[in-house]
């Protein structure tokens, strides 16, 4: 080590620089987090929050209410209801649905709550990791069996 005093000065400078850089960075990060944290709410929580959650980015999670899915293929317009067992919220989405919606399926919608309707910009299907054997009569296989039949007859004709 040459010149202990100088070494100390150097160290002090270095510490100061680290503090300044770290502080700036921390401040930016805090600001960034503040604006970009998206709350994850159930329909019940969303409705309970009232005006606080109107027109701010939110993730709404719940189940697709049975029989509520309305899909307009021409306009690429999708409407359905999300429920959590207590409350339901009407969801509207432009664009095609992510593949297919099924009743009682877990879904997460990203978007904003406006005029009593949740305008969703992004729909995510919850990939449940539980491999329960589906109950009889519920298997997708059976649901689509019929479809295959129709399609095959189509192919023959």
């Amino acid at each position: 080590m040459s010149g202990n005093i100088e070494g100390r000065k150097r160290a002090a400078l270095l510490v100061a620089a680290v503090i300044v850089i770290g502080g700036t960075f921390g401040y930016l990060m805090y600001g960034g987090l503040d604006k970009n944290v998206v709350y994850f709410l159930t329909p019940q929580e969303l409705l309970a929050k009232g005006t606080k959650v109107v027109d701010v980015p939110v993730r709404l999670g719940g189940m697709v209410a049975p029989g509520s899915v309305k899909w307009d293929a021409e306009k690429l317009d999708l409407r359905f209801q999300v429920m959590d067992g207590v409350k339901t919220v009407e969801v509207h989405s432009k664009g095609a649905p992510p593949q297919m919606f099924r009743d009682n399926m877990g879904v997460v919608c990203e978007g904003r709550f406006k005029n009593g309707v949740f305008e969703s910009t992004n729909l995510m299907i919850k990939h449940s990791e539980e491999y329960r054997a589906p109950k009889a009569g519920q298997t997708p296989q059976e649901m689509y069996k019929e479809m295959f039949k129709t399609l095959r007859e189509d192919a023959k004709s």
Binding site: M1, R10, I21, F25, L28, M29, G32, L33, K35, N36, V37, V38, Y39, F40, L41, P57, R59, W71, A73, E74, L76, G95, A96, P97, P98, Q99, M100, R102, M105, M124, I125, H127, S128, E129, Y131, A133, P134, T139, P140, Q141, Y144, E146, M147, F148, T150, L151, R152, D154, A155
Partner: protein
């Protein structure tokens, strides 16, 4: 029977590994070479036993032995053989077993390549590897036991997660990831070994650490790129990176390892940053364990939800132990870690390395905060939040741009001090390149500031890195009368580390440009098309030929056959599909991609009528995407070039054949020779 073999092999392996950990300090302290050798043998035995257990599991999977817990969880008689085999890493227990296998393999390799070295470094390094192995073997013995008994034996199982049996890349990405991720344990073990042995002042361990980090880093790079590719090809949103916790978990150690690969050069050249480098190695390893904890404990829900296991606490304890032991050792070695050199001038390569490390650390920290924030918020305030992509993008874009810029400045500046003349000579050509690229980007319609900056800085870095080759080749051609190709070969041969690094830079530039271009110029089109009708997609049109169904043993598939047209002429067919698995509640989409070097046409089947009369298609036209994968390959190539020592006649090279005419590439030495060679790297 299979179950019993696998189970006992793991238990014995645990016992042997623990025995090795105990033998190490006794052997070193009492100078008992026989005990040290016994520990080395224990390492080999541990590897053999875990290999046996792994093969037992593969055998159980292939023979559909549903009495084995893990097989009952992920196996199915209908699953094709390839996906049955790779379901070894399809769920928690199997992936921990595979992890342990890679870890014990690397432990055995560390011993095999270094067993004849003198001193306490290798014994203590091996002890560290064994300790980490003990941790994973404890997991396999208890909370993540893959060989539990299922009674009565079920006739069939559910099969692997549908997402994991949908693409061949699932056979590629996990092994690469494990080799990279687990590989980062080795440099950590060398660091701990060096500190325990009191040998941090010597450069031996640093050289070993650097080479192992480079190898692991190459695998990790390939794994991350393969993961991006998988997500692009399978998930159907046309993207490849979403700041998902699982992606972040693999990315953070990559960032710190990248920082280490750069800052280690400062230590080797100038004797500075010793303490910093040690901390980077420790941080890298801690981040791999943290990443595993985040992805495997179910503490975060993510699209990669692999299921929840009871192993969260074990990992937290492991992280705490890692940090405690490391910091205690660092504190004990602080005398030896004092800096020798110091900064002479601001404009020098050292400064660029410091800035690069600062940026990479800030990058890591951002990703870490963004990833952990939801957990902290939930624990502290009981709210469920997610940190959106905007946060990550906003915070990391400036960092990425700076890194691109530094990637050009670093190679252009000399060590210690740069005169104004040198600066001008070196930096003006790249700046001209940057200006041209910026104008070109604006001309073709880039409007976001960061997109233009990214293109400009990428051009800057590209010119700077290519110039290094150019000036080197030119000098050799003039001084030694070599032709250009010979000059290139010898230039790289004599300075592999340096020129391999520049190759990696060029790969990173390719990836950066491809990501910027594909996200800036991406266009999406959606429409519902009737059979025989056409939808517009920018320069292309899509004609729905038919919707058809196909039944496969493990799934049913509904696909659309779509003709891709350009100016009314058909240029190809794409078949985007939806797959229905009996165990999954929703269909799994499979997009169809037409890849060309200039870009991709990405087609997704979104919905269809039951009678097959119409289908809703989503078309995404993205330029330059394939360059992400090419760029990844170039980065790995650079790492491979850098890994081997330069052409030097040193102990390990005596007897290496030199071609009669003195031309051609350096002979490839044996792996053991490389690892054991004490040869100094070529002077940069």
């Amino acid at each position: 029977m299979t179950r019993l073999i696998g189970h006992s092999a793991l238990l014995v392996a645990l016992f042997v590994a623990a025995l090795g950990v105990v033998l190490a300090p006794i052997g070193v302290k009492r100078a008992r070479q026989d005990l040290v050798r016994a520990m080395y043998s224990a390492t080999y035995a541990m590897f053999a036993l875990v290999t046996a257990a792994t093969f037992a599991m593969i055998y159980a999977l292939v023979t559909h032995d549903f009495s084995v817990g893990y097989v009952a969880q992920v196996g199915s008689r209908a699953t094709p053989l390839f996906y049955t085999i790779i379901s070894l890493w399809g769920a928690l227990e199997g992936s921990i077993l595979f992890w342990a296998w890679v870890l014990t393999l690397l432990s055995a390799l560390v011993v095999f390549w270094n067993r004849d070295r003198e001193g306490a470094l290798i014994p203590y390094t091996t002890m560290t590897m064994l300790s980490v192995s003990v941790f994973f073997l404890i997991l396999l013995a208890g909370p993540a036991d893959p060989f539990t008994l299922i009674s009565p034996t079920p006739p069939d199982g559910p099969g692997p997660n549908p997402l994991l049996q949908n693409h061949i890349l699932m056979g590629v990405h996990p092994p690469l990831l494990y080799l990279g991720y687990v590989g980062l344990t080795v440099p950590f073990a060398f660091a701990v070994g060096a500190m325990a042995a009191g040998e941090v002042a010597t450069d031996d361990w640093i050289r070993l650490s650097r080479r192992w980090t480079l190898g692991a880093w190459a695998f990790l790079t390939a794994a991350i790129i393969a993961g991006m590719w998988w997500s692009y090809e399978v998930l159907g949103w046309g993207g490849y990176w979403a700041w998902d916790p699982v992606e972040n978990a693999s990315f953070m150690p990559w960032l710190t390892a990248t920082a280490f690969l750069h800052s280690v050069m400062v230590q080797e050249r100038r004797g500075m940053l010793k303490l910093w480098n040690l901390n980077l190695i420790v941080a890298t390893f801690a981040l791999t364990i943290l990443g595993t904890f985040l992805t495997r404990s179910g503490v975060l829900s993510s699209v990669h939800a692999f299921g929840e296991g009871p192993i969260g606490m074990y990992f937290l304890v492991a992280i705490a132990l890692t940090l405690l032991v490391s910091f205690a050792l660092v504190a004990g070695n602080s005398e030896a870690l004092a800096s020798e050199g110091r900064l002479d001038g601001v404009a020098a390569r050292e400064t660029v390395f410091l800035l690069n490390n600062l940026m990479l650390t800030a990058f890591t920290f951002t990703v870490l905060v963004g990833t952990l924030f939801p957990i902290i918020a939930e624990a502290a305030r009981g709210v469920k939040v997610s940190v959106g992509e905007p946060f990550f993008n906003k915070m990391t874009l400036p960092i990425c741009a700076s890194l691109l810029f530094l990637m050009g400045v670093g190679p252009a500046l000399p060590w210690r001090r740069a005169s104004k003349d040198v600066m001008r000579r070196q930096l003006v050509p790249p700046l001209i390149g940057a200006a041209i690229a910026a104008f070109a980007a604006i001309a073709i319609g880039a409007r976001q500031v960061y997109a233009v900056l990214a293109f400009a800085f990428a051009a800057f870095a590209l010119v700077a890195n290519l110039r290094e080759y150019w000036t080197g080749i030119k000098a050799r051609m003039q001084l030694r009368n070599e032709d250009a190709m010979t000059a290139l070969g010898r230039l790289v041969g004599a300075n592999r580390r340096r020129y391999g690094g520049y190759v990696a830079h060029i790969g990173v530039i390719a990836v950066a440009v491809a990501i910027t271009a594909s996200s800036t110029f991406r266009k999406e089109y959606e429409a519902t098309v009737k059979k025989g009708q056409v939808m517009d997609a920018g320069a292309f049109q899509m004609r729905l030929v038919e919707v058809y169904a196909r039944e496969e043993p493990q799934r049913s598939r509904i696909a659309a056959n779509v003709a891709v047209l350009k100016d009314g002429k058909e240029i190809g067919r794409l078949d985007p599909a939806m797959n229905f698995y009996p165990t999954s509640q929703q269909p799994i989409p499979t997009p169809a991609v037409r890849s060309r070097p200039w870009g991709d046409i990405y087609l997704n089947l979104m919905a269809f009528k039951q009678d097959g009369s119409d289908a809703t298609l989503k078309v995404i036209v993205e330029p330059m995407v394939p360059w992400i994968w090419f760029g990844g390959a170039i980065i790995c190539l650079g790492a491979i070039i850098s890994m081997f020592p330069a052409r030097r006649r040193s102990a390990a090279w005596v007897g290496a054949p030199v071609p009669a005419d003195g031309r051609g590439v350096a002979p490839v030495p044996s792996a053991a020779g490389i690892m054991a060679s004490n040869s100094l790297e070529g002077a940069d």
